[in-house]
Amino acid sequence: MSDPIVIAKDVSKWYGSVIGLNNFNIEVRSGITGIVGPNGAGKSTFFKLLVGTIKVNIGSMLVMGRSPWKNQSQLKDIGFCPDYEFLPMDLTGTDFLRFVGGLHGMSGQTLAKRSSEVLKLVGMTEASDRRMGGYSKGMKQRMKIAGSILHDPKLLLLDEPLSGTDPVVRKELIDMIKGLNREHGHDIIVSSHVLFEVERMTHDVALLYKGRAVASGDISEIRDLMSDHPHHIVIQGKGLVDLAKSLVDKPYTVSVQLWSDRSAITVEVSRPDELFDSMPELIAETGCQIESMRSLDDDLESLFKYLAGW
């Protein structure tokens, strides 16, 4: 197993009376690592600590073996893509990369060649001469990532790179992020508040909740932890009354709620895998027509509470 590239040991960080991270422990190894947590979980605080713009109050944080605090020279090995908009809208994509490259001390032909490579890598070559104010959300995200990989960092930090994007763009970005690791060797820490999105990029996941790493490791291990936690699943379709009656009798069902317009039911289950496995049989039994099934995303909050033991 490779050496950890990030080690956080008993890290606490607070802003006045607000706690950002609370006795936080994590070891991140090479590859892609997903950091999942709801808003306010401490994801952005974690990234700021990694970049060294803030200092831990208690504990120790090592990035590639060195403390990031006031260690500017280490930033040549780190590429940071924040979650918020910061692109200068009056610049073109090429101008932006030239500016960012300049901040990294790159210039001349080296910078021009590298900018061209990075634009190609993120699929923005054709739009690079347009002003970024006219870019779509997906294009802006690509340019933000381009700016963070321009200096070829070993470690890439992507803070919520998929937020606000539509499913098509999301898929493209996920493929791109996977490619940055697989084909170009960047170690990547990517955050999201949607477990499902992170799961499509990596199996190494840490779940953050209220400043703590409530679970970390392989996604299958985390899924095992989650398996006993009640999940809410919405099933839409026709003929759902019979399906609801059948589900009530199942041992994994905690509750079934039929929507007032009878277009859907919300099933609370303790073991969702068993529900999914038994669905073909249930459909055959009841003759219902299923249009869609989805797990409620807002259930994540309760999942985190469950994992944190609160």
């Binding site: 700021k48 970049v51 930033l75 200068p88 009056d90 300049g102 084909e183 960047h186």
Partner: protein
């Protein structure tokens, strides 16, 4: 880093040891302003009214040499100060307020740039941009007057040209700390621009009210302090009724504390406060 199909190769330069990267920020500020129609319009009108006419008029008027009195009067005229205030308000309003609004400070600080490098870059960018009005036209005026002088004493004229360079640098720099300070206190560039403009003029108005009681009240007005410092640079001295120590304290107050406040604000913003 790894294999790739697009000639992706690691950059192996000495990025972290690049000591002049603040110039990248300065360069972007200059480019940004030179693309601004409003900035160019004020710059052209200001240069025409405050200098171009004077260059033509003074050059064709018979004169023996370039004198300190002539240059001091040119650089102390009200038009020069008014346009300098407008340009400082416009240029400085963009510098920190915009970064604060867009949170782009992290863009700089996460790329091996210290807060002091960031501040130096902003300061340098504002200086270079404002020098187009505050430094170069006075030098052109001084050279034009020297070139058309009738007397033989070019040495004394050269000395005045040198003093003009110093005066131009000082005039360009003097108001920037106040502009940066106001810009660091808000995340709206309009507020920053109006705030800078109003701060400079309100100080002037208050100074004008109280100056009848004591001449030292002039030192509350940045315009008066700038004019007096021009006289000092051109060797004409301070007005007798103005206290030298208070004059020094005023220069200090208009420059150093605002920059310290800006630096503190950058540190705070850098950690997300």
């Amino acid at each position: 880093m790894g294999l790739n199909p697009i000639e992706y190769r690691p950059w192996d330069g000495q990025r972290s040891k690049h000591a002049r990267r603040f110039l990248v920020i300065a360069d972007s500020i200059l480019r940004h302003n030179l693309r601004s129609k409003w900035f160019l319009a004020v710059l052209i009108v200001g240069t025409f009214l405050a200098f171009a006419l004077n260059i033509i008029f003074t050059s064709i008027t018979p004169h023996e040499s370039l004198t300190p009195e002539l240059m001091a009067s040119q650089m102390n005229n009200g038009l020069f100060y008014i346009f300098m205030v407008i340009l400082v308000s416009m240029v400085c309003s963009d510098l920190l307020a915009e970064d604060s609004r867009s949170n782009s400070l992290v863009l700089y600080l996460s790329r091996a740039l210290r807060p002091e490098g960031y501040l130096l870059g902003k300061l340098t960018g504002a200086f270079i941009t404002l020098a187009i009005f505050g430094l170069f036209p006075p030098i052109i005026l001084a050279i034009a007057v020297t070139a058309t002088q009738s007397g033989p004493d070019y040495l004394s004229s050269a000395k005045v040209i040198l003093e003009t360079v110093v005066a131009g640098i000082w005039a360009t720099f003097f108001l920037i700390p106040i502009g940066l300070m106001v810009s660091s206190l808000t995340s709206r560039r309009t507020y920053a621009a109006v705030g800078t403009f109003m701060a400079l003029f309100v100080l002037g108005i208050i100074s004008g009210i109280f100056v009848q009681f004591d001449a030292n009240w002039q030192l509350l007005d940045p315009g008066s302090v700038l004019a007096m410092s021009m006289n000092v640079i051109f060797g004409l001295g301070l007005p007798e009724q103005v206290d030298t120590w208070l004059f020094g304290a005023a220069i200090f107050a208009f420059t150093i504390p605002p920059l310290i406040l800006v630096y503190w604000r950058i540190l705070r913003k850098g950690v997300g406060k």
